[in-house]
């Protein structure tokens, strides 16, 4: 059992639990993007570079963009309203 790997895996659980507890949506989205980035490192640990490149492009990139555009569209971030709370 490798200490670094255990650290990465713990990070995943912490991310998931903190999203369950946070009320701030922007924070939740940011945590989700961090989770995806860590996930793509874990794919490298598991010797799957295909997945790492896809996860980095999709999980942290496109999905994150979609979440941000959604939050902007409904006025929770950006624009004159400022972010909620």
């Amino acid at each position: 059992m490798n200490f670094g790997v255990v650290f990465l895996l713990t990070f995943l659980i912490v991310c998931a639990a903190s999203v369950a507890m946070t009320k701030n949506l922007l924070a939740a989205v940011l945590i989700q993007m961090g989770y995806s980035t860590i996930m793509s490192v874990i794919w490298l640990v598991l010797e799957s570079p295909d997945l790492a490149i896809t996860e980095a492009a999709v999980g942290a990139g496109v999905t994150g963009i979609l979440f941000f555009v959604t939050l902007r569209r409904i006025g929770l971030i950006g624009g004159k309203g400022g972010r909620k709370k």
Binding site: C15, V29, S48, L51, L66
Partner: protein
């Protein structure tokens, strides 16, 4: 209880994250958090799947120097399935977020129970 829980720490992490994601998707009332929960749930499943294919001490299945002997490489099947799964997951995420946008533009809230209550009050078209 079997004997392999501490050897299967990847799978154990995956099911813990799966459980949390499942609960967020099922019972959290905020729609955006539901979508994030869905993403957690799916990527936890993928972690579970990919850890099935890993064999310690071997490398990724991209042939180098013409060596194709199976004992050099890990199992490519889980990686392929996960690749398919990631596409499905991002498609569903986009669909869910589009629904969230439409619901917000109509009801001006992100809480599912309030949206349900408001839609009950509406007259039928």
């Amino acid at each position: 209880m079997g004997s392999n829980l501490f050897f299967n720490y990847f799978e154990a992490t995956a099911v813990i994250v799966f459980g949390i994601g499942f609960t967020i998707l099922f019972l959290d009332r905020n729609l955006i958090k539901k979508v994030i929960g869905f993403n957690f749930m799916d990527s936890a499943i993928f972690l579970f799947l990919a850890s099935n294919g890993y064999i310690s001490g071997r490398v990724s299945p991209i042939f180098e120097d013409g060596v194709t002997a199976a004992e050099h490489y890990i199992n490519p099947v889980p990686a392929g399935l996960v690749l398919t799964g990631i596409v499905v997951s991002v498609s569903v995420t986009a669909f869910l977020l589009a629904l969230v946008v439409r619901l917000y533009l109509r009801y001006h809230t992100l809480e599912m129970d309030e949206i349900v209550a408001l839609s009950r009050k509406e007259a039928d078209e």
